[in-house]
Amino acid sequence: MFKHFVSLQWKSFFRSSNFGKSLALKLLMGFLGVYMMVTFAGLGVGLFFILKKAFPDSDPMLIVCGYLLYWVLIELFFRYFMQKLPVMDIKPLLLYPIKKSKIAHYILVKSGLSGYNFLSLFIAVPFSIVLITQGYPVSNVLGWLVAIVCIVLTINYTNFIINKSDKVFLFLGVLILALYSLEYFSVFPVKEYAGQLFYSLYQNPILALLPFVLAIGTYYVNYNFLRKKLYLDASLKKKAIKVETSDLTWTKRFGSIAPFLQLDLKLIWRNKRTKMQVFISLAMILYGLFFYSMDTYGDTSTIYLFVGIFMTGIFLSNFGQFIPAWDSEYYGMMMSQNIPLRKYLESKAGLISVSIVVMFLLSIPYVYFGWKALAINFACALYNLGVNVPVILFFGSFNKKRIDLTKSAVGNMQGTSATQFLVLLPLMVVPSVLYFVLKTFVSFEVALITLSVMGIVGFVFRKTLLDKVTEAYRKRKYTMLAGFKEQNN
C-alpha cells in the first residue's frame, strides 16, 4: 500500500504545475536550491573552525550545544507559520478501501520527509563529520547526530500539535525573548544549563534514546489525533475564520480610486501571501546594515545605490511584479465590470508610491552612517517613485500566470515567469549602472542629482506614462484573461 502512496507522491511532484515551468525558471530554482544547500553545508563544515578560532579556550561542541535550545525554539517558531500538515491531499483517498490508520501513517511519515527537516541536517551532518576527522570519538558524535535527527523529527511533529492554537505561538515568541533577556542581563545563564543538557547527549550516546522516544511519542500523539479526526467535517475542513470587517472610509479622500484602494488593502491584508510581502518588505529595511556596517566599500559605493533602490523599492518589486496577477482569480469580472482600467492602475500606483515613501522614512536612521547614506536613499526613493513605478506596472502587462491567493505564502512561485526576472534589469541594474558611470566620470553629486531629476521628471509626467501603460494592458487583455483562467500554471 505504501508503494502506491509513494507513487502518488512521485506523480504529484513531477506532474505538478511548478515542474512544468519553463526551463530557465527550473534551472534558476535548482540553482537557488543547490546554493542554499551548499551554503548550509559550508556553514556546517566551517562552523568548527570558526568557533575554534573565535573561542580558542572552549570546546566548539559545547558552544554549539549552548545554542541548541534557541535553535529548537526558533525553528518551532518559524515552522508554526511555515509548515502545515498537508491534510487536504488525502481527501480523495477517504473514499477508497484504504484503512484510515494507513492514511494517517502516510501523511505523518510524509511530513517526516519534508524539506524543513533536512535543512538543519545540512549543517549538523557536515559538522559531525568534521568533528570525527578532528579526533572526536566516533560513537559519541554519531549518538549526538542521531539525537539531533530525532529532535528535528520531534520539532516536526510537535509543530503539528501546537499548530492548532495561536496562543502557543505567542508563548513561543515570548519564551524566546524571555530566555534571551535572562541571558543578556545575566540573570540566569540559560545557554550554560541548556548546553550541559545537550552536551550530555554527546557525552553519553545512550541518552540519544531520549529524543528518540520523544519523536516516537509526538508521532503517536499526532497519529491518534489524526486517526480519529479523518472526517470531512473535522480536521480536513478548511477553517473559515470569522471576518472582522474594517471600515476603510478614510480612503474616500483619494477620490475616484478609493474603491480600488480599499480592494487592494483588503487583498493585501486578507491573503497570506500578500500579507507576507508586507512583513518581508518591512524587515528588508535592515538589509542595508549588512553593507553599511562594513567599511570596505567607501561611502559612495555603487552597492549603496543598489541597496537604496532595493530598500525603498522592496514592496514595489515584491508586490508590483505580480500586478495584475494578484487579481487573476476574478480578472474576468474586473474586465466586464464598469471599471476604467486607468483607475485600477492608478490605485496600484498610489499604493506602491505610499510604500516607497514609508520605506524611505524608515530608512532615515541610516543617516547615522553619514549624510551621504541619506542622500543616496532619498535619490533612490525619487527614482523609484518616478521611474520604477511606471516601469513595473508596464511589465505587469506581460503577466499572464494565475495566482491563487488561497495558496501558501512560503516558497510559492505561482505567477512567476521570465517577466519577473527581466523586470529586475531596468528596476535595479539600470540605475546602478547609471550611478556608477556618472559617479566615476563626473561626481557623486551629479550622479545623485541625475537620478533624482529622472525620478521627478517621471513623476511629473506620470499621467502620460500611465496612459501608455493602460494602453499596454488593453492590448494584452485577452492574453491575460486566457492565461489567468488556466488553473495550473
Binding site: A240, K242, T245, N271, E329, M333, M335, S336, Q337
Partner: protein, 239 residues
C-alpha cells in the same frame, strides 16, 4: 438591443461558434440552451468582450463591444465563481460593485432588501468571506450582484445550476419579474429545459456553435426541445 453579426470564433481550425445573425430586442428574456460545448459560454464571453471574435461583431445598444467599453455601464453579468472576489464578504462585494456602478451604500442596501427571501438568511451578516461560502450561496451572491446599478442588460450563465429547489423557484420569479417590466434584457443559459421555458420568452438552441432552433416560447416549447435533445444527440446528452 443586442445585434450579433457574422460572429465566428475559432480555436485553431475548430469552429466553436458561428452565428450569422441574431437580434435580441430590448426587454426580451432570452434563453440559450445547448449541450456541453455548444458554445453558450463562448457566446456570453464574446458578449462581454472577454475573448476576441475571429470574425464579426456584437453590437450592444449601438456599442460594438470589442472596440468600445461604453457597454459596460449598462451591462452586468454573472458567468461563474470567478466573478466573485473571494476575500471579500458578500456585503463588501455588493458595495464594491455598487461603487463601480455609481450606487452608494444606501442604494445597495435598498436593493438587497428585495432579495432577503432569495438569500434565505445565508448570505448577509454571516461574517464569512465569499470563498468560504458554499457553491450555491456563492452563486446567489453573484446573481444578486448582477442586479446592482440598474443594468439594462443582464447576462447569467447557468444561473440555476447548484441552487437548491427553493432558490431555483425564487430565481425564476425574480427573472420573470425583471422581464415583465420590459426594460431589462435578460440573457440566461441553462441545461435545464424546464426552467428556461418557464422564464424565457424566446429560446435559442445552439448545437456545435450553430443556431439550430429559434423558438418563441409557447405551451409546446418544452416538448419540442425535449424531442430535439432526445432525438438528435442522445450520445452527447449527459453532463
Amino acid at each position: 438591443m443586442i445585434t450579433t453579426q457574422q460572429l465566428t470564433k475559432k480555436y485553431g481550425s475548430q469552429m466553436v461558434l458561428n452565428i450569422g445573425h441574431l437580434e435580441i430586442p430590448k426587454g426580451q428574456s432570452f434563453g440559450l440552451v445547448g449541450n456541453n460545448g455548444a458554445g453558450k459560454t463562448t457566446y456570453f464571453s464574446l458578449l462581454l468582450d472577454l475573448i476576441q471574435p475571429t470574425t464579426g461583431q456584437i453590437i450592444n445598444n449601438d456599442v460594438q463591444v470589442n472596440t468600445s467599453e461604453d457597454w459596460k455601464p449598462f451591462t452586468s453579468s454573472f458567468i461563474d465563481e470567478s466573478f466573485l472576489i473571494g476575500y471579500l464578504t458578500p456585503e463588501e462585494y455588493f458595495y464594491f460593485i455598487g461603487e463601480l456602478r455609481g450606487q452608494n451604500k444606501a442604494d445597495v442596501d435598498a436593493l438587497l432588501a428585495n432579495f432577503e427571501d432569495f438569500f434565505h438568511g445565508e448570505i448577509l451578516g454571516q461574517r464569512k468571506y465569499l470563498r468560504d461560502l458554499s457553491k450555491g450561496n456563492q452563486k446567489k451572491a453573484g446573481i444578486v450582484a448582477s442586479f446592482i446599478g440598474n443594468p439594462q442588460v443582464i447576462i447569467l450563465d447557468e444561473p440555476f445550476a447548484n441552487l437548491d429547489p427553493t432558490t431555483q423557484i425564487r430565481l425564476k420569479a425574480i427573472i420573470k419579474d425583471l422581464s415583465a417590466r420590459k426594460e431589462i434584457t435578460v440573457l440566461v443559459s441553462s441545461h435545464d429545459l424546464m426552467h428556461v421555458t418557464e422564464v424565457c420568452e424566446r429560446i435559442v438552441v445552439l448545437n456545435k456553435g450553430v443556431v439550430v432552433r429559434d423558438i418563441e416560447t409557447s405551451a409546446e416549447t418544452l416538448r419540442e426541445l425535449e424531442s430535439f435533445f432526445a432525438g438528435n444527440q442522445v450520445s452527447e446528452e449527459e453532463e
